[in-house]
């Protein structure tokens, strides 16, 4: 059990970005992000004993994190119909980034937040540079379908970016 706890903590440390990128994409205020992060870690720990090490850990982790986030999002959306973007937790204050980069990050986060639950999952995996094969396995659709949908979402994002940059 102690070994399980240690290996789980180690794997979480190595893949910490996954939890917060998923949380940040599905929630728009600090309390929800904290609640979702706890829920994802709870679900990961609960299912950890059934994890088959023959498969890639990150694939399994994305499935749990995204499934939890979508379920959580659908539950939270019922109680909060409107969420302002200003509520967003992740404030970009990195001095190393130019103001243009910061603006792009904020726009990208805003656009991802506006996507439908399933499209959002697809886009997160794409931006995380997962292969179409892995995305297809995580989402549960064909590789061709992944490529078609990503193409459409990217086109929408580009249009939105060009509108903002006009």
């Amino acid at each position: 059990m102690q070994t399980d706890k240690e290996s789980f903590s180690k794997l979480m440390q190595e893949n910490k970005g996954i939890v917060f990128k998923v949380c940040n994409s599905y929630c728009s205020n600090k309390n929800d992000i904290e609640d979702l992060a706890q829920e994802i870690i709870y679900q990961l720990w609960k299912s950890y004993s059934s994890y088959n090490s023959e498969y890639k850990f990150t694939t399994w982790m994305y499935k749990i994190a995204l499934n939890t986030a979508i379920s959580f999002y659908r539950k939270v959306k019922k109680t909060r119909n409107t969420i302002s973007f200003e509520e967003h937790l992740i404030e970009i204050e990195d001095d190393n980034n130019s103001s243009e980069t910061n603006q792009n990050i904020n726009l990208l986060q805003q656009f991802i937040n506006e996507l439908k639950e399933l499209d959002k999952a697809l886009m997160i995996l794409y931006l995380e540079e997962k292969s179409y094969k892995e995305i297809a396995e995580i989402i549960g659709i064909t590789e061709t379908n992944v490529a078609t949908k990503i193409g459409r979402i990217k086109e929408k994002l580009k249009q939105k970016f060009s509108t903002y940059n006009l």
Binding site: K16, K21, N24, A37, Q38, S47, F72, Q109, L118, G140
Partner: protein
């Protein structure tokens, strides 16, 4: 903005997540020491409450039948049928509860989310079964004495009312289904706030089906 720029912007945001790792560690400690509980078990809680209330209702009906000592066959038969219908509904709820516990978030997103949404929407199927008891609420007070001595009155009032509700109940049983969820009468029937989550679940099932198409 080009694809690589999108990915660069996405990766740049990761730097800002580092300072949230302290929170992540606190969550890990909490779940490992069992101090954290899932907030996503609302569906199971709802079904559990329905099962408990259903059992209490069936027990109450059982007491009524027992208290009548089978003196009036119409009463015994009507309440008996109502009891059976409610027992079936409870059994379906118990089956749902088992299915909820078997949902595996390690499955693909489409599979896990569809199962979850279908279970949420399945409350509609219980409603179909529950409607079947409607005509029997119009027959429990019938008696042989009334039918034999006041036949005309019975045939002109009680019987047509029970027949009408029997037709309504069978029609609803046949037509309340996810396939008819887009129809106007369905939307009106399930328009109250307590059905919002079920209607949203049906919409999500449709969204998943649409998403699966190439």
């Amino acid at each position: 903005m080009e694809t690589q720029e999108l990915k660069n912007a996405w990766n740049a945001s990761e730097k800002n997540l580092e300072n949230l790792w302290t929170l992540n560690m606190r969550c890990i400690e909490m779940v490992q020491t069992q101090k954290a509980k899932s907030k996503l078990n609302g569906l199971a809680a709802f079904k559990s409450v329905a099962i408990i209330l259903g059992i209490l209702y069936v027990l109450f009906l059982g007491i009524l039948v027992y208290g009548n000592h089978f003196k009036n066959l119409y009463f015994t038969f009507s309440i008996g049928i109502i009891m059976v219908i409610n027992i079936v509904a409870i059994a379906v709820y118990i089956k749902h509860l088992v299915l909820i516990s078997q949902i595996n978030f390690g499955e693909s997103i489409i599979n896990a989310q569809k199962k979850l949404a279908e279970l949420q929407a399945s409350t509609i199927n219980i409603t179909r079964i529950i409607w079947l008891q409607l005509p029997f609420w119009c027959t429990w007070f019938w008696s042989s004495n009334w039918i034999n001595n006041n036949t005309a009155n019975f045939l002109l009032t009680a019987f047509p009312i029970a027949l009408f509700f029997a037709v309504v109940a069978v029609w609803l049983f046949k037509n309340i289904s996810l396939q008819n969820s887009h129809k106007k009468w369905f939307r009106i029937l399930f328009s109250t706030t307590e059905w919002t989550s079920v209607i949203k679940a049906i919409e999500f099932i449709n969204e998943i089906d649409e998403f699966k198409k190439d």
